[in-house]
């Protein structure tokens, strides 16, 4: 199964691999959510939604439904 942003546990890091472009808001790309960039899970609200992430140095919160669209490689 593909690993997505939504699978990260608190404190874990990953590298953004790919995402389906049409469904990702442009704003997220502008904030640095681009393939090749590093992402770390910082906090999760109850029910793991929304998620508070550090993407490429930007601190952002996004909903789980968007996180599910972003494929990553886990950094161990």
């Amino acid at each position: 199964m593909k690993l997505t942003l939504a699978d990260l546990k608190r404190g874990e890091r990953g590298i953004i691999k790919d995402f389906s472009e049409e469904n990702i808001p442009l704003k997220l790309l502008e904030m640095g959510c681009l393939p090749g960039n590093e992402v770390q899970m910082l906090q999760m609200a109850p029910f793991r939604d929304p998620m508070y992430l550090n993407i490429n140095g930007s601190h952002l919160a996004i909903r789980k439904e968007i996180a599910l669209l972003i494929e990553i490689d886990l950094i161990s």
Binding site: K27, M31, P50, I62
Partner: protein, 700 residues
């Protein structure tokens, strides 16, 4: 005299752009609106060395030139329209040293428009603490611009920035990134079709859905020289453009910026662990709300009492000093109580904005959005609805405007529709005076009962707002696609200057905006209460004297009071009031409250002023509004008019009824149809009526 230099301040949200603006202009600023839209326009004059001046325009915060909201449209419209009088001679892009990479995206876009652009790196005082070092000279070379390190907080670097603004002509207007390589053929055709236009401008005109001054969108798309790309293709190209820009930025920063993570002390993650915690986060948020409402209640009661008494005294003083007559009465009974009804709001509004701006300045508000999003979504709202709902406690108008950053139309519309249920500051004086009349001033378990009642009313407002959101979420059939993205800014100590300016601005706009309506209505009411038709009004003293002829034990004063109240009853307003009394009597009100309710459909805050005006007509005693109200007698049931039952009924009516023309107007503007404001007016007011009716009938 030299011409003023036009400067546009541009930057991402949370970069301290407003702090830089405040440092440049001081109190020498004014806040208005862009013509035709409700986006706030902040501008100011900055004194530069050598007798020069700059006109500084603080544009709304934006992450890029790809507009997704009204606020962001303003930025692009200005930057693409050379004939606009505010078109900048020089753009100042404010960035935050910790988020430089992301901030530079916007910088490169503006640079590509061919506008001389200064890069301000703000919060430079944090560099050492975060282990960041910058090669400024190399950065200037790579970005082809002037870079200034500024700390708005420590007030350093501002003089350098002013110097850079003076020398703006020496800044290169060459672009950093050649965006046309994302689709060479397409851009080639564009260049041939419009040889006189800047290519990047054309690209923005094609991709942005905004109005442009001098370039016609249709002209471009109807041109036969090339076919317009489809929406998805354009979006793909925008993605490509963003990636291209980041490649450039990453390259530049690799050479010029070093971050030594080991020396960074991370307060943020420690604070976040507590403030966004699954249990503590919510407990702290609730605690903060409790603290704010207790503070507003206990702190503002002193200045409010003082204001109330001062105006009562002033009224009396005018009456005894000026020669008696209609003019004196107009001032003493119409204008002064009316003005008092405005001034009495100032303490609470100031305190409320004080707290709200602290929550925003510190970065805490974003944590609240994060914590609340999932819960709010259950009710069809967004985490971002928390900000409008909280600012709704100040005033529904800025709250409705604050919904603009909610990405989903359905979530945004529901937020707009339910925001007027939150307890705005205009309800506060009504609540305060009625609570003071019907709730005992006692402490239970250390909490003041009156303060608790007030908090309960705030919670009730939120509760009904959220409940109706839930219903609307079920009823409204709108396709919903959420693009929720929110930045979590770093924690900062709030800056006193920013908070002070914000409090002063908001209070001023209330006093002069709502104040005019209140004053006008007060004067109209005074006229209606002081004149009446027919014999009953004109011969009031004879009629009343005859009635009391046989009872010789009535004193002169009592007789005067009887005459005054008889006159009021037969004045124009008395006749109108008695006309609606049957409608409001089941709620426990008399005709005077009925009049106050009618006049508060213009604006709620008129209620206290109206009662003040009605009760002062004919009254000689120097008395506060509260005392006059406490002495009123219920015309049908006898006994005091303001009992626990009628008080609760009034509180509930004011909690739910839609009584604010300005809110209706802003909702119409933001939703672009009368459908939603009319729905609000009808549904909320009917709901208020029946709840108040039930409360009075059950409690009496």
């Amino acid at each position: 005299m030299a011409k003023q230099i036009n400067v546009a301040l541009i930057g991402n949200p949370n970069t301290g752009k407003t702090s830089v603006f405040n440092q440049l202009t001081g109190l020498n600023q004014k806040v208005g609106n862009y013509p035709g839209i409700t986006v706030e326009k902040k501008e100011g004059i900055c004194k530069l060395p050598r007798g020069l001046k700059a006109h500084i325009l603080d544009l709304p915060g934006t992450y890029s030139l790809n507009a997704s909201s009204l606020d962001e449209n303003v930025v692009i419209e200005l930057l693409l329209n050379k004939s606009d009088k505010d078109y900048p001679d020089v753009a100042v892009v404010v960035s935050d040293v910790e988020n430089l990479k992301r901030n530079l995206l916007l910088f490169t876009q503006i640079k590509d428009l061919g506008i001389p652009t200064i890069l301000v790196i703000n919060m430079a005082d944090r560099m050492e603490r975060k282990g960041i070092s910058l090669d400024v000279d190399l950065l200037e070379e790579r970005l082809k611009t002037k870079v200034t390190l500024v700390s708005a907080r420590k007030n350093t670097g501002i003089d350098e920035l002013k110097e850079a603004i003076i020398n703006y002509r020496h800044i290169s207007d060459e672009p950093c990134v050649n965006a046309s390589i994302i689709a060479p053929e397409y851009f080639d055709r564009l260049r041939k079709a419009f040889p006189n236009q800047s290519l990047y401008k054309l690209w923005l005109v094609i991709t942005q859905d905004v109005n442009f001054g001098n370039i016609n969108r249709n002209e471009i798309s109807s041109s036969e020289l090339f076919e317009t790309k489809s929406h998805t293709e354009l979006k793909k190209l925008q993605h490509k453009e963003t990636i291209l820009r980041y490649q450039f930025i990453n390259g530049v920063l690799k050479e010029t910026m070093k971050v030594d993570a080991s020396s960074a002390k991370d307060l943020r993650s420690r604070l976040d662990r507590v403030l966004t915690h699954k249990v503590w986060g919510y407990a702290i948020f609730f605690g903060i709300l409790l603290l704010i409402f207790q503070a507003i209640y206990s702190w503002s009661s002193y200045p409010m009492d003082l204001i109330d008494e001062t105006f009562a005294f002033l009224s009396e003083w005018i009456k005894t000093t000026l020669p008696a007559g209609a003019f004196t009465n107009l001032i003493a009974e119409g204008i002064i109580p009316g003005l008092g009804g405005i001034v009495i709001f100032i303490p609470q509004i100031a305190f409320l904005f004080f707290f709200i701006s602290i929550l925003e300045e510190t970065g805490y508000m974003s944590r609240v959005v994060f914590l609340m999003d999932r819960i709010m979504r259950k009710f069809g709202l967004s985490g971002k609805s928390v900000v409008p709902l909280v600012s709704g406690t100040a005033c529904a108008i800025p709250a409705v405007m604050a919904t603009r950053n909610i990405e989903s139309w359905k979530e945004r519309l529901i937020t707009i529709l339910v925001v007027p249920f939150t307890t705005c500051s205009a309800r506060l004086p009504v609540y305060l005076i009625i609570i003071a009349l019907v709730i005992p001033d006692r402490a239970v378990w250390g909490f003041n009962l009156q303060g608790l009642t007030l908090m309960l009313l705030y919670l009730l407002g939120f509760g009904v707002a959220i409940g109706s959101a839930w219903i609307l979420n079920l009823i409204l059939n709108i396709k919903n696609r959420s693009h929720f993205v929110i930045e979590m800014p770093n924690y900062k100590l709030p800056m006193g200057k920013n908070i002070a300016i914000n409090v002063v601005e908001k209070t001023k706009s209330f006093v002069f905006g709502a104040g005019k309506i209140i004053l006008a209505i007060s004067i109209i009411l005074w006229v209606l209460a002081s004149y009446g038709p027919g014999d009953n009004f004109n011969n009031a003293s004879e009629i009343v004297s005859e009635q009391y002829d046989e009872q010789s034990n009535i004193t002169e004063d009592e007789l005067d009071e009887e005459i005054a109240s008889f006159k009021l009853k037969n004045s124009y307003i008395g006749i109108m009031g008695r006309g609606i009394e049957p409608v409001v009597a089941p709620l426990g009100y008399d005709w005077k409250i009925g009049i106050a309710i009618i006049s508060s459909f213009a604006a709620r805050e008129v209620f206290v002023g109206t009662l003040a005006t009605i009760y002062s007509v004919g009254s000689d005693e120097e008395e506060t509004i509260k005392n006059r109200m406490a002495a009123e007698i219920n015309p049908i049931l006898g006994g005091p008019l303001f009992t626990f039952a009628s008080g609760v009924s009034l509180l509930l009516f004011y909690a739910f009824a839609m009584q604010c023309m300005s809110t209706l107007a802003i909702v119409k503007k933001e939703t672009n149809t009368w459908k939603w404001p009319v729905l609000q007016l009808v549904v909320m007011t009917l709901f208020a009526y029946f709840v108040a009716l039930a409360a009075f009938q059950l409690l009496k």
